[in-house]
């Protein structure tokens, strides 16, 4: 019990994180690629089409997991910001920057796949309903966090980005509940934490595999981006110089 702060301390050191994550990386990459490929191929070729939507519903196997992670990743980013603000941990701010990039890209993909799904099902690529608009706000929040992190140098940038990330957490439950609170064109949640899921098991199982696969893929991307941030932040340290010279020396 007494040893956990030390263990946490070691993982909180950028150098130690770089070393340990380097070892985990190949395993994570294989797991992420394997699970998401199984899920996507299952969903694209083997799952039944939807009775009303036909095959366009197969976009869900991409849209749903990516949207989930765009939201969950925002909480992760804000949490990293809070840890960075309170405990002044360098690695936390690096995680925030990494999560902002990955999250912005995931939100973009969620909006894009949503538009391409909306056209054949609803009859329009875009509509300003509460769900889609709040998702667009999430995209701008991510971009804002990235921009603030680059606007200044050093600690001020870190703190400004963390504050914006924390303020923006308000938007996440709004996105999630928007389909229940307001009339939207977007349908309500299919997979519910409480209550019955309204999707046939033959369609649901590949979706759950896709969700698991994209969680792994997100973890992989986050680690890759954090590692790049570590090198950028620590480029003047001795261990990075040794690493650079050792690589091809």
């Amino acid at each position: 019990m007494a040893s956990w702060p030390q263990w946490l301390h070691r993982l909180g050191s950028p150098r130690e994180f770089y070393r340990l994550s380097g070892r985990a990386l190949p395993w994570l990459a294989v797991a992420a690629a394997g699970v998401s490929m199984v899920g996507l191929v299952w969903g694209l070729a083997f799952a039944p089409p939807d009775a009303r939507q036909g095959h366009s519903f197969r976009i869900a196997y991409l849209h749903v997991p990516v949207s989930f992670l765009a939201l969950a990743g925002y909480y992760l980013m804000a949490l990293a910001g809070a840890v960075g603000l309170v405990w002044r941990v360098k690695l936390a701010h690096m995680t925030l920057r990494a999560a902002a990039r990955v999250g912005a890209a995931f939100t973009f993909v969620a909006l894009l796949t949503g538009a391409l799904w909306g056209k054949p099902t609803w009859g329009t690529y875009w509509v300003w309903d509460a769900r889609i608009t709040s998702m667009l706000i999430l995209f701008f929040l991510y971009l804002g966090v990235i921009a603030l992190g680059q606007a200044y140098r050093g600690e001020r940038a870190d703190r400004a980005a963390a504050v914006l990330a924390l303020v923006g957490t308000v938007n996440v439950p709004i996105i999630y509940k928007s389909v229940d609170w307001w009339y939207t064109l977007h349908q309500p949640a299919t997979i519910k934490l409480t209550g019955t899921t309204t999707m046939h098991p033959a369609m649901l199982h590949p979706l759950l595999v896709c969700i698991a696969g994209f969680y792994l893929f997100y973890a992989l991307l986050l680690v890759l981006h954090v590692r790049a941030e570590i090198l950028a932040g620590e480029r003047r340290t001795r261990w990075v110089r040794e690493l650079a010279l050792g690589e091809r020396g």
């Binding site: 099902t121 009859g123 509460a130 999707m199």
Partner: protein, 149 residues
């Protein structure tokens, strides 16, 4: 916890709480404006502005869809169970548009209370079923007593 860190943690909590309250009040004040469409009962009660472009959403009343003689004109009614609004639309309907299913029509209300729509969108629900299963469910429903859609 170190007093300085406790103070910073408190600042973080206050920041998030403050933002939540501010946005919550804003959303409450704008709650009607954040709806994409009016329900038919609201339109019939006169809550929707006449003449302005509005959207009305509801279920397409079964048996109400009439395809007019001239071109692509379609007439149907949208209902929320409490009231229904007649809609006239000229154009191509989305694939998922069907009687008994949800749709959203955008346009302006005419004098007689008809919505002259320039856009009709299909709204689908959160249920996903394979065609075979949907077919079986439909057959089972037809064999039983007439169920409400």
């Amino acid at each position: 916890m170190h007093p300085v860190r406790r103070q910073r943690l408190l600042a973080v909590v206050l920041l998030v709480a403050g933002a939540t309250v501010a946005v919550g009040l804003l959303a409450y004040a704008l709650r009607q404006n954040l709806n994409l469409f009016y329900a038919p009962a609201q339109v019939v009660a006169g809550e929707a502005p006449a003449g302005a472009r509005i959207r009305v959403g509801g279920l397409v009343v079964p048996g109400s869809v009439e395809r007019g003689g001239e071109g692509l004109e379609v007439r149907f009614a949208l209902t929320d169970g409490a009231a229904s609004v007649p809609v006239v639309y000229r154009g191509i309907l989305p694939d998922l548009f069907a009687e008994g299913e949800a749709a959203v029509a955008a346009g302006a209300l005419a004098e007689d209370g008809t919505l002259v729509a320039d856009q009709v969108l299909a709204k689908h629900d959160e249920n996903y079923t394979p065609p075979e299963v949907a077919e079986a469910l439909k057959r089972a429903q037809e064999m039983g007593e007439a169920g409400t859609p």
